[in-house]
Amino acid sequence: MNGFFAQVIPPSPFNAPNGSAELWTRLVIALLLGVAAVVALMKAPVSVRKPVVAVSTFCAGLYWVVFFLWPRPVNRLPGDMPSGLVDGVGFWLEDANPIVGNLSNVLSAFLLGLGIYSLLRIHGMRVIKGHKDAFFSAVLLLGILAMGVFGYWDWLDKMSPTGPSLALEANWAFQNRVRDFLFDGLLQEMDAGMFSLIAFYILSAAYRAFRIRSIEATLLLATAFIVMLSFMGLVTGLLDGVIDGIKGTADPGFLDNFKLTEIAKWLRATVETPSLRGIDFGIGIGALAMGLRLWLSLEKTAVSS
């Protein structure tokens, strides 16, 4: 059983030599079975679908709960046999981990297909119906197609064991140049463009938030002002220098508490950090409660109420 999950010894029915016809046949069969299972689940009446979903969710969650709670094998070396029942279950859980991870990757791949279908349907219909923004939809569809074709073509070149090294630009063929232009020349640059917009948005949001309208807004403004000033070397040098001038630089004294850097440090350590820790605890417990409700299928209110 352990070897079955580890997919090594003995050879499992899911294994076949890389690139062989046998592997491709198994892949196609697995794909067809997967599609059939999804279609069957979609066509099944709700009374059948609900228990299937609940049991699957419970089993999947149970693996991770046991994986978290069960002591993991310490100091395990390749080729080790488990030393007892506890160790054996630990081995089994550890070996099953990548397989369970792969199952979730397979599901994600199926769902990505549905996402792409959504894009194609919405934008394809816009192009066909001559919507006023049909041009942009056409660019998007062309972009998806070009990125898919040239990305895969480029990937095949990179994976080829016999081809020239693509680390040298001189060896690049047409497809490598087009992929480079599409990905590094366009997509990455546009990403960077969108990211840089944030600086301006922060400015406009800060202007609205920091206007003195209430006691809370005034406190926020004053705190932000102190913390921002504490990051400016020239300002802290001047203001902290005034304190040093009054008390002298010899030993730390009571007046040091009034240095700008100390006030900012106090604000961050005593006001900011505990608040964030409080938020962290709340979010963590909330996620735990939500996870429990989903795992035990107690969360049914979205549609039923």
């Binding site: 310490v74 070396l77 080729g79 030393s83 996402g115 938030a209 735990l288 969360e299 549609v303």
Partner: protein, 308 residues
């Protein structure tokens, strides 16, 4: 192994919190009347939808960048409530997803909401959209929808990162009422600065209980509160124990997981009992004593087994 990393007490505390939550769920199911305080951000949901209905413009919902997890599910459950209200008034909705799995679940959920209200004919398949799984392509796509369709209300609930400001400011520029909440504490200040209503921290998880008043959810919420009280008590106890203990000195220090005698010095936080309860250090010599038989069929080239 987590018993080595966090100690038995970490696992015990987790199990205690689970007991609080499940115990209160069963308590609430028995019909106990439990109180939930007012949350302004959630009261604003109906106001925002009402405004969109009056203006005849769509309501926008964004569950963030996260994959299909507890956070996205919570966001979708709140959106199901929004969609139900919008369906009753015939207000158009736009739900934009960055993750294909979230998109699929969202589509099923919203379709079921319309069907459960007897308004299946009003459901528009294109109202739930997959935009892109790249952060800024998603930000650009959603901003485009806000500007082109002039959304009157915007709900940003879920896992948000740097794109939060782009959404919030774009929605603000078209005059939309914004209700936001993120589980990413680094983004919460941005939302507070830019949005009309913000769900802070675990208010996000309280939303479905607040909106539906379903016993299971309300009980779970009370369980969360009990858990927070337990954590606060632990913090208080830890502060007291550390304060008392750190008045003394120590003559031992852990190095590589082994207690070694040192010259006497004042206690540090790392030396206290409370720290060792939650962060015990492993003794590598003890670990090395575990002996196991070798698999006779093991081939070193096959790469079986793992290791910690």
């Amino acid at each position: 192994m987590q018993y080595g990393d966090t100690g038995w007490i970490g696992v015990t505390v987790t199990l205690l919190l689970v007991t609080f939550i499940l115990g209160n769920i069963f308590r609430a199911k028995k019909g106990k009347d439990l109180y939930i305080r007012r949350i302004a951000g959630l009261n604003a949901i109906d106001e925002a939808i009402g405004r969109a209905t009056e203006m005849g413009k769509p309501v926008l919902m964004v569950p963030g960048l996260g994959a299909l997890n507890a956070i996205s599910m919570q966001a979708l459950l709140i959106f199901a409530h929004v969609a139900r209200t919008a369906a009753k008034f015939g207000t158009p909705i736009r739900l934009c997803c960055a993750d294909a799995a979230v998109y699929t679940v969202a589509q099923e959920l919203i379709r079921d909401v319309y069907a459960s209200e007897g308004l299946a004919d009003r459901y528009d398949m294109d109202s739930v959209r997959f935009i892109s799984d790249r952060q800024f392509a998603f930000a650009g796509g959603v901003s485009g929808i806000i500007l082109r369709e002039q959304t009157a209300a915007a709900f940003f609930l879920g896992e948000f990162y740097a794109e939060s400001m782009i959404f919030a400011e774009t929605a603000n520029s078209v005059g939309a009422i914004q209700v936001a909440g993120s589980t990413e504490k680094t983004q919460t200040p941005f939302f507070i600065a830019a949005c009309d209503y913000v769900l802070i921290g675990d208010e996000f998880y309280a939303a479905s209980a607040y909106l539906n008043r379903e016993p299971v959810l309300v009980g779970s919420l009370i369980g969360q509160d009990w858990s927070k009280v337990a954590i606060m008590a632990t913090i208080l106890l830890g502060a007291l124990m550390n304060s008392i203990e750190m008045r003394g000195t120590t003559v031992f220090e852990r190095k590589d997981g082994v207690l070694q005698p040192i010259a006497e010095r004042p206690m540090k936080i790392a030396d206290t009992t409370f720290t060792h309860l939650f962060k015990p250090q492993r003794n590598p010599e003890e670990d090395a004593k575990i002996e196991r038989e070798k698999d006779p069929k093991f081939d070193a080239g096959a790469g079986e087994g793992g290791g910690e």
